[in-house]
């Protein structure tokens, strides 16, 4: 053991004796007299009960912006006359510093298309545009925002962004890419949570520890599927490695999504850039160490679970001997003839864990045995034919004896599948690989160096309470990370770039915020508003900053990257927006909500309801930069490729949308080519055509109509197809 790790072991009160100094430690001299002396004094300090401090961090580490408490600065005075709300004053201050003026406000047509796509993911229908244009009340825009936030489409849109973060999918992601028939319930839970405006802190706590916090609430249990979206290989015989990878995945995604800290660097070594020692990685992983994937999990309030637990315990005690004898007869017969991948392919260590009776397994043995048992099945129904002679007679006798206790058995509680619990009230040890030190749960030590205080829940839950402790720490209003991270993500959603550009990395490899005071002001406001996401969206999209036009010559010249937000960004539609948008324009979009996923190429439902099969993504969406949902994706790539152009120009799918739009137009405006063209522009672009565009369109229809038989609809289809390829459809500004 190096002196450094020895020192840390003592500093962090490691209870493992081997981690403690052995005889003579005080007198050895490694690394120079002075350094050694200081170290020893520090060790003595701790041994004598002095307050513990983490020694590894420099002042620069401690001063890093993301670790500072959120401070709500006074609102700047700049921006008078232009500003609508606090956001604008903060923006105006930076504009003044950089000698920039904001862009003029966007026209109403541009604005409604922008905000509809941002909040609901769909372009506005011509009727929505008309009613907004016709509303001359001073709060017409605010009323529009309220309508959009109240629409079920809002939750569907916000869910797509969240599902990127949590790498949601409906399949395993390995060779066979098996379908996960229960995963969609999580997607619906997310949509529901956004639509009902569940406070964000509650939303996060449910996902980390819903089973401990609210075990009688089915939704809170479904929320824990957050901890099930890892890729999984159904025939991985190296079970322990797969389990380690799963725990690492869960740790990483928690850091990425909720803390905005890339933890994974610290899995193998101290983080090279951020103050995250390797030990911290395992302190956080230790919260998940007792995790157990559950495919039958009871739903019951603590009293219900307690009642069940008591009765079951009594029954188990009364039948213990019988069941032990039964197992001794049954298990060899069952394991001799297994289905699926079979029992025989595991190494001896794993076989031993599987052979152990469930009630005799340690938590770790339970985790590994149950993960292994997913690979094969047993056939208890065939026991009568597989048991012979004396043992069969004995088996039958024991069975009937057991039956006599049937009445004492508690009635099972309702169940949910594909969720998690702990493997028991005692957590398996978390060790740092290669070093072997046991690590107790704890938070990022730069923020909170002590061990986590963990309160075990009621015995009936058979859980450690570790994840609850983590959930409360992460969602603590004083935690400087979670609120900042989330408001920054919302900012990115509406402005194309976060106030801190790397939305999942607030460390030194990310970029510091361009507007730190605004970020803090928003984070504080978010908490003060009861973690209301809808209020935060409303605040942002009603700001004058958001309402700017996308053109501002001065800003384009002096600030091409738009760092200071003196204009609205021009953004390409995301994958869902392209697919849903084309279906909406063609009039085919099916707005049915919820339920099991559908194949995107065979259905016209919104993209959020498609089956997300990791190995066979939908072609349209993949081409438009849909992430693979294997790992966390905080900011989608936006590419412009010939592949996209070929798909939009030549694929059967886009042609069908064009044909449907042509039919829709023909029905709405029989015989009137001009009206069809105007309507087509309104539908696809949210704008009326210019006179020259109308002429171009008429000329195109004439020329194509002459060349195509039958004329009319065929030519109109070609015209609609062109609109669906146009930048005015593919981009929003």
């Amino acid at each position: 053991m190096s002196e450094k790790s020895l020192f840390i072991n003592i500093l962090s009160c490691n209870p493992k004796p081997s981690a403690w100094p052995s005889g003579g430690w005080f007198f050895t001299n490694k690394g120079g007299i002075f350094a050694g002396m200081i170290q020893r004094l520090a060790i003595l300090w701790v041994l004598l009960g002095g307050p513990v401090f983490a020694a590894e961090f420099t002042q620069a580490d401690r001063d890093w912006w993301a670790f500072q408490p959120v401070r709500q600065a006074a609102m700047p005075t700049e921006g008078g006359g232009w500003a609508v709300n606090a956001i604008d004053h903060f923006i105006a201050r930076k504009l003044t510093v950089h000698e920039l003026s904001p862009a003029p406000a966007a026209d109403r047509r541009t604005l409604i298309r922008r905000v509809c796509l941002d909040l609901t993911g769909l372009p506005p229908a011509p009727e929505q545009i008309t009613s907004f244009l016709d509303d001359d009340s001073p709060d017409a825009y605010e009323k529009l925002i309220d309508r959009l936030l109240d629409s079920p489409r809002y939750g569907e849109r916000q869910a797509t962004l969240w599902l990127d973060l949590v790498r949601y999918a409906d399949s395993d992601g390995y060779k066979s890419d098996h379908y996960r028939p229960e995963a969609w319930r999580y997607r619906d839970y997310v949509i529901r949570s956004f639509n009902t405006n569940k406070p964000y802190d509650r939303f996060v706590r449910e996902q980390l520890a819903g089973d401990e916090i609210d075990p009688g609430n089915r939704d809170a249990l479904i929320a824990t599927m957050f901890l099930r979206h890892w890729i999984y290989e159904y025939n991985q015989r190296d079970v322990e490695t797969q389990w380690r990878d799963i725990l690492a995945d869960v740790t990483n995604v928690t850091g990425d999504v909720l803390l905005g800290m890339g933890l994974q660097c610290a899995r193998c070594h101290d983080h090279k850039f951020d103050p995250i020692p390797q030990r911290d990685y395992y302190r956080i992983q230790a919260f998940f160490a007792p995790l157990l994937p559950r495919d039958s999990m009871p739903v019951g309030t603590v009293p219900q679970r307690s009642k069940f637990f008591r009765k079951h315990k009594a029954w188990a005690a009364a039948t213990g001997d019988i069941r032990r004898q039964l197992d001794a007869i049954e298990q060899p017969a069952l394991l001799k003839n297994t289905t699926g991948e079979g029992f025989g392919k595991f190494i001896d260590k794993i076989k031993t864990m599987i052979r152990k009776r469930p009630e005799d397994r340690t938590a770790y043995q339970r985790q590994i045995a149950e993960l292994s048992e997913r690979q094969f099945g047993v056939e208890p129904a065939k026991l009568p034919e597989r048991l012979m002679g004396a043992s069969k007679a004995e088996w039958e006798r024991l069975r009937s004896e057991l039956k006599e206790f049937e009445a004492q058995k508690p009635r099972p509680l309702p169940q949910v599948k594909f969720v998690v619990s702990d493997a028991g009230p005692v957590a398996p040890a978390t060790r740092i690989p290669k070093k072997g030190d046991v690590v107790e749960p704890g938070f990022l030590s730069i923020l909170d160096p002590g061990p986590a205080r963990i309160t075990p829940p009621q015995a009936a839950l058979q859980s450690t309470g570790r994840r609850t402790a983590l959930a409360w720490w992460i969602t603590d209003p004083d935690n400087p990370l979670m609120s900042r991270v989330m408001v920054n993500r919302l900012w990115q959603q509406h402005f194309g770039r976060g106030l801190a550009a790397n939305t999942s990395d607030f460390g030194k490899l990310g970029e510091p915020p361009t507007h730190p005071e605004l970020l803090d002001w928003l984070a504080a406001r978010f908490v003060a508003d009861g973690w209301s996401l809808k209020k935060m969206h409303r605040l942002i999209v009603t700001s004058a900053t958001y309402r700017q036009a996308s053109t501002n010559e001065q800003s384009e010249r002096a600030d091409p990257a738009n760092t200071w937000f003196a204009r609205a960004p021009i953004r390409r539609l995301g994958a869902e927006q392209v697919r849903d948008g084309l279906l909406a324009v063609s009039g085919e979009l099916d707005l049915e909500s919820g339920g099991e996923g559908v194949a995107a190429d065979k259905s016209n439902r919104r993209s959020v309801y498609r089956k997300v099969m990791r190995n066979s993504p939908n072609e349209v969406m993949h081409t438009f930069d849909m992430p693979d949902h294997i790992s966390h994706m905080p900011q989608r790539n936006v590419t412009t490729t010939a592949t996209q152009s070929l798909l939009l120009l030549n694929s059967e799918w886009t042609r069908q949308r064009a044909a449907a739009l042509a039919k829709r137009l023909a029905k709405r405006h029989p015989g009137n080519a001009g009206a069809k063209i105007v309507d087509a522009h309104e539908l696809a672009f949210g704008q009326a055509p210019l006179p020259s565009q109308l002429n171009d369109a008429l000329a195109f229809l004439d020329a194509c109509g002459a060349a195509n038989k039958p004329p009319g609809l065929a030519a109109l289809t070609e015209y609609c197809h062109v609109l669906m390829n146009a930048n005015a459809f593919l981009y929003v500004d």
Partner: protein, 475 residues
């Protein structure tokens, strides 16, 4: 020569970056990158279209024998195996975790006839008579090892460096680092010998967390070489042209009212590029332009050899036209996987692949292309000396053989060794990361200096590990 550029003064503007070639297949804008202009500047700049040092190879053809060919029956003879056949592996051999748990099954003899070939005298078995004829061009690496014990993890790792999904594959990294030499064709092309899908599907040639523009593009045989290349049925060329003209006018007008927007310009150019590709691709895949002698060389006219032969010939035509990275799956869908009936399985797989592989090497050589084209042969792992189901072998990730040829590789050498049974790599062990680093080295790229920022983290192709086996070159 070291042409890795200094950072600050050479930072290209937004516009310049957009208009450079080599940003992936038909990619005209990567605003995912642009949004992080500053992050990009801080990193050692990604070397678009510029190697770090003088490359030996300019292009790669990776012949992926999918399912796991048996190194101990093809390139790595083990006399002890035949001596101990039928017995348990001696206790002195460390037991690996294997996919099917066959650690204690009896050892299976290799019934092959082995001979030394060429001037180098390297061993090749009678299953690969044609490859044996090219042995003086090959560097046979007998000491490969990997972590993935199953096909999914193994194939994933051989492509991306790790068994867990999510990272860009080697072809994508090369595409990212070097770009294409022919804008009208993809920089990274993937083929399969049959219609079967390889294990993991398109994930094997995906760009992972990098922009999709760097992914491999599937080249299909038949009327439409690349997906959606052909104008839809019923749309005459005249109508197609008219549509593109109308689209151009709409887009020009849209852009004109929006000041300087390079992404919108790029989108307009992407349609021009699509149009040019529609013209260029059919010529590139037209095998009727090849002579009968060439077709013979690749095994045309024989139903066993022609399917893979066509892929190999297409690969040559692709690299000739500046395609950077070609990957061909032979035995797509784990056809080399021989848990039982080794003899029948490998007889078939070798028959199909051996002659076209040798044909490709000879053809490249005679055209002077081999010097700058690196050819890689191998699967996701090898096979165990222990038997499975009596006449098959389990997966062996701990020691197996691959070979490289051309692209600056010194032919006629054998690198590394496995133990006496071929179970564990023992000498000059080359992990997949080392193999990838070696490939990149031959292309003039230092594996740890090719950086892509993902989630703010600097990522490289070999995950902070891997060392190129530089001795593989001509010296």
């Amino acid at each position: 020569m070291n042409v890795r550029a200094p950072v600050a003064d050479e930072l290209f503007s937004r516009r310049e970056l957009l208009l450079r070639g080599g940003a992936g297949f038909g990619a005209l804008a990567l605003s995912g990158l642009l949004a992080r202009d500053n992050a990009l500047a801080k990193a050692a700049r990604p070397s678009f279209v510029q190697p770090h040092f003088a490359p030996r190879a300019k292009r790669v053809i990776f012949l992926f024998m999918e399912g796991g060919p048996s190194h101990i029956d093809l390139f790595d003879p083990k006399p002890l195996l035949n001596k101990l056949a039928g017995q348990r592996m001696p206790q002195s051999f460390k037991r690996p975790i294997t996919a099917m748990g066959e650690t204690e099954s009896p050892l299976l003899a290799s019934p092959r006839t082995w001979k030394r070939h060429g001037q180098s005298g390297a061993w090749v078995s009678d299953w690969l008579p044609h490859t044996a004829g090219c042995v003086d061009d090959l560097a046979v690496i007998r000491s490969c090892w990997t972590n993935g014990i199953n096909h999914s993890g193994g194939v994933c790792q051989m492509n991306t460096g790790q068994p867990l999904a999510g990272r860009p594959c080697l072809g994508s990294w090369v595409n990212y680092g070097l770009g294409t030499e022919n804008e009208n064709l993809p920089a990274f092309v993937v083929m399969t010998d049959t219609k079967s899908t390889p294990t993991n599907g398109p994930r094997n040639w995906s760009a992972g967390f990098m922009p999709a523009a760097y992914q491999g593009i599937r080249l299909n045989q038949g009327a439409e070489p690349f997906r959606h290349l052909n104008t839809p049925k019923g749309v005459t060329p005249e109508t197609h042209r008219r549509k593109l003209e109308l689209l151009r006018r709409l887009n020009e007008r849209h852009r004109a009212t929006r000041g300087h927007q390079s992404e919108l310009e790029a989108r307009i150019r992407s349609y021009e590029l699509a149009y040019r590709m529609q013209a260029a691709a059919p010529e590139a895949v037209d095998l009727s332009r090849e002579t009968e002698a060439t077709r013979q060389l690749y095994g045309f006219g024989n139903k066993d050899t022609e399917p893979f032969g066509r892929c190999c010939l297409l690969a040559r035509r692709m690299v000739e036209r500046g395609v950077r990275f070609v990957q061909i799956y032979h035995g797509a869908g784990s056809k080399w996987d021989s848990h039982s009936k080794m003899e029948a399985n490998h007889s078939r797989q070798c028959l199909q692949s051996d002659l076209p592989t040798a044909g490709l090497l000879k053809d490249l050589k005679s055209r002077g292309l081999l010097e700058e084209t690196l050819v890689i042969w191998g699967g996701e792992f090898g096979r165990t000396p222990m038997s499975e189901k009596g006449d098959g072998r389990d997966h062996n990730p701990t020691g197996f053989t691959m070979w490289m040829a051309g692209g600056g590789v010194r032919g006629g050498q054998v690198i590394g060794a496995t133990d006496e049974l071929g179970l564990w790599a023992t000498k000059d062990r080359l992990h997949v990361h080392d193999l990838h680093a070696t490939v990149l080295h031959l292309l003039g790229i230092h594996n740890l200096d090719l950086i892509y920022h993902y989630k703010g983290r600097p990522e490289n192709p070999t995950i902070n590990e891997g060392e190129a086996y530089k001795e593989i070159t001509m010296g």
